[in-house]
């Protein structure tokens, strides 16, 4: 905008500008490209032919990583945990937001404060008691327990975001429905939820990325290979000596594909969601 206003820039300026921009793009994109390239190399090629392309595409890295890291299983676990988490986070939070800002139930100010204070609290404050509680309830290595913890951790965020949106939805439709004698759940499910669709999509994306990418809680709560989520399963490829980089990068590539696709499909929604999630934090 400013450039247009100030008028035409000298050629040298434009050239320098684009050199800097290309340099920045390389810094942001090259690590991803390098990861994909390494994932197709033979193990000896990684250091021997560092900058080159793979001599022959080694698809077996993907097969080996898939088997060795239980990646298929982990991918399934991650998807199923994230989807269940998103569903309950959004459902429960939107019902609460509806009660707090539309129905205005008794104590709604107190409850609103009680929920939204959770936004300020880092996950670290709950990790150790949550682990002890898991031992106590005999729920270590249990997906349902992990999902419940995720849902609990997400509720403050989504109550906060959804009530911010619902506050600005016009009330006339609800009032008309109420005069018709509609039940509260009917008003919620057939009027308020459909009207909140855009923000619900944004929140769902934020919620999905949050649980799909979450490491700390999954790491302390899940034990057996069959139960791991993607981030924890990736950890199995680390270790400081003799890391098999082609397999590691193959596993990383598989794990980031879903989020990259999600981002490319819903570019603006993802950006809005993550920005909204960041700001209220």
């Amino acid at each position: 905008m400013i450039n247009n206003l100030v008028g035409k820039q000298p050629l040298l300026y434009t050239v320098i500008k684009w050199i800097i921009i290309s340099f920045l793009v390389v810094i942001f994109i090259y690590p991803l490209i390098l990861t994909v390239i390494v994932s197709f190399k033979a193990k000896a090629e990684v250091w021997g032919n560092f900058f080159g392309l793979p001599e022959k595409l080694q698809f077996h890295n993907y097969v080996d990583a898939w088997k060795r890291g239980h990646i298929g299983r982990a991918l399934f676990n991650s998807f199923y945990i994230s989807i269940v988490t998103v569903f309950f986070q959004i459902l429960l939070s939107s019902m609460i937001a509806f009660l707090l800002v539309r129905v205005k139930i008794p104590f709604n100010r107190f409850l609103y404060a009680f929920f939204s204070i959770g936004v300020m609290i880092p996950l670290h404050a709950i990790v150790l008691p949550i682990v002890r509680k898991a031992v106590l309830l005999n729920a270590s290595d249990n997906h349902i327990y992990l999902i419940l913890v995720y849902v609990a951790g997400g509720i403050p965020w989504f109550v906060f975001l959804l009530s911010g949106y619902m506050r600005n939805v016009p009330e006339s439709l609800e009032e008309a429905a109420m005069l018709d004698g509609s039940s509260l759940s009917r008003i919620f499910f057939s009027i308020v939820l459909p009207l909140s669709k855009p923000v619900i999509l944004t929140c769902s994306i934020l919620a999905f990325l949050g649980s799909y990418n979450e490491l700390l809680l999954a790491m302390v709560l899940l034990k057996s290979y069959a139960n791991l989520t993607i981030p924890v399963a990736l950890m199995a490829f680390t270790g400081f000596h003799n890391v098999n980089f082609p397999q590691l990068t193959a596993a990383v590539t598989i794990s980031i594909l879903p989020t990259i696709i999600l981002y490319l499909v819903f570019q603006e929604k993802v950006e809005q969601g993550l920005a909204a999630g960041a700001v209220k934090g």
Binding site: V25, G153, N213, A275
Partner: protein, 296 residues
């Protein structure tokens, strides 16, 4: 909305599941962490005895834990480094994207892409880049700076900076988007009048744009400070706080004490400290914000 008597059953049905999950799996654990930090207790056993000791756990942590100050200092370093680099670069990128540049959509996606990836996979990619035979050292070798070649993550002097690079790389996209949202909100007339009075590019940025985006700057800085104090995944995967705990930060210290060294009481105290530190920081920043509003 008026509440009718026959709405009460539905209200409870709507409120109770969310409220009870939130209380049991979030609010109570937070409360527990905080309260327990004032008690002496041992072990991960089920029937633990709690003896009230006041602030003794905190004093112990500050005085007797050899790594606490190291970890705190590293956390502060990450906070300062992130604020400086993410704000500067994020703002510059946002200005760039807002300048009617060509390939805007492509550039936007390129700079934002790392944000959607998990910190785990990002850190694993960068472990390869920082590897002693990895990209950075190869490039240094090609450029002839052989004396700079070092095992970046295993060198106690460089590892915290390497960690900073990764966190900045991953976080900048979101900062850029926040600034961009602010920039789009600046009316075109304001910028046009700058041109009319003959203000240069630099003056327009420092005297008009930055003051107009003051709230965005404060929000962005707050969230970078909080975000970098909370960072765990990147550090744990890149260095696990090592070697010799040279890159320990508060969050890895808490994890090590609580989960690996079987010092749950001390880990809990560290967790409480992080929590209090963040609350205090948000409170201070919020007050600065409202002061500014009064002045303006």
């Amino acid at each position: 909305m008026r509440i009718f008597k026959n709405y009460y059953p539905t209200i409870f049905l709507f409120l109770l599941p969310g409220l009870s999950i939130y209380i049991y799996f979030f609010a109570l654990p937070v409360f527990q962490t905080f309260i327990e930090s004032f008690f002496y207790w041992e072990g991960l056993k089920i029937n633990v005895e709690f003896v009230f000791v006041g602030l003794k756990n905190y004093i112990d942590l500050f005085k007797n834990d050899p790594y606490f100050w190291k970890a705190f200092l590293n956390t502060l370093k990450l906070m300062v480094g992130n604020v400086v680099f993410q704000t500067l670069v994020g703002f510059t990128l946002a200005m760039l994207l807002n300048s009617g540049i060509r390939f805007k959509r492509f550039l936007n996606i390129a700079f934002f892409m790392p944000v959607v990836l998990s910190a785990t996979s990002v850190s694993l990619m960068w472990r390869f880049i920082f590897h002693p035979d990895g990209l950075i050292n190869r490039l240094l070798e090609l450029a002839g700076f052989t004396e700079l070649i070092t095992p970046w993550l295993a060198n106690p002097v460089t590892n915290i900076n390497a960690i900073l690079v990764v966190i900045v790389w991953q976080g900048i996209g979101i900062i850029m988007i926040l600034f961009l949202a602010g920039l789009v909100g600046i009316p075109k007339e304001v910028l046009e009048s700058c041109v009319l009075v003959g203000a240069g590019r630099w003056d327009t940025i420092t005297l008009i744009i930055i003051p107009m985006l003051k709230t965005v700057f404060i929000t962005v800085i707050t969230l970078i400070l909080i975000g970098s104090a909370k960072a765990f995944d990147v550090i744990w995967i890149l260095t696990s706080g090592g070697p010799f705990r040279s890159s320990e930060v508060l969050t890895t210290l808490m994890y090590r004490q609580g989960m690996l060294l079987s010092q749950p009481a001390r880990g809990g105290t560290t967790a409480s400290f992080i929590f209090l530190f963040l609350i205090l920081m948000s409170y201070v920043i919020r007050n600065i914000k409202s002061d500014n509003k009064i002045i303006n």
